[in-house]
Symmetry: C2
Subunit: 150 residues, 2 copies
Amino acid sequence: MSDLRIRPASPSDIPAIVAMLADDPLGAQRESLDDPTPYLAAFARLAEDPNQHLVVADRDGRTVGTLQLTIIPGLSRRGATRSIIEAVRIHADERGSGLGTQLIEWAVEESRRQGCRLVQLTSDVSRTDAHRFYERLGFEASHLGFKLVL
Amino acid sequence: MSDLRIRPASPSDIPAIVAMLADDPLGAQRESLDDPTPYLAAFARLAEDPNQHLVVADRDGRTVGTLQLTIIPGLSRRGATRSIIEAVRIHADERGSGLGTQLIEWAVEESRRQGCRLVQLTSDVSRTDAHRFYERLGFEASHLGFKLVL
């Protein structure tokens, strides 16, 4: 297997990240590569927030995976800090390679390093393969995830 | 109806907030009022993070409800900022009073004011009354919520 590195995303990764977000049955309707402006603005907000970790998986200089890890302090569970994983995407060429597992394991390890006591994420009810994947990694589907689009 | 105000939590609200977190079938096992230290430390972290909004509902000087709103920037959905609602609790004396609706409506309005395009939350699968409550407020149970305890 060639060299894989999980590292913080840089602005030059944005086109590859957005391409992965768009290359998805649900993401295809939501993303647009035509205008990079809103993505650049969002990247700037992420970069200045110490509780945000947007990372990419880099294989031999190619951006082949991404996820966003958010660290959330809180009072509940005796003041437990938790983390939330969002926007997990694996390049089509890399699916089945174990890269998804490596990315989630990175996020779990980083959460532990930062003192989190809980890692959580939501997955669209239609993504049944993803549900099995997270259960294999020890996650429990204990909650319903509600969304309200504004 | 007496005067209700939704306002940022202050350190003096911590005992009342923790009491509400504990007065719950799931929370009872997770919280402990014996030692305030971890709650005070978590409160300090929340207070210094501009993307965290821990609020209480105050009725005539009594702390009768709480929730935590987190603002999360991100690249997906064309750089959409989203918000996450956590740790919603209503004092036992106030259940059925419409206070839950007022708190969630506050969170949705504040999310809109901050430019969020999505509000999300998770609810334990056992809380079927809460699920109906969120659906009545326009939320869609489109996701499964996965948790991993560290």
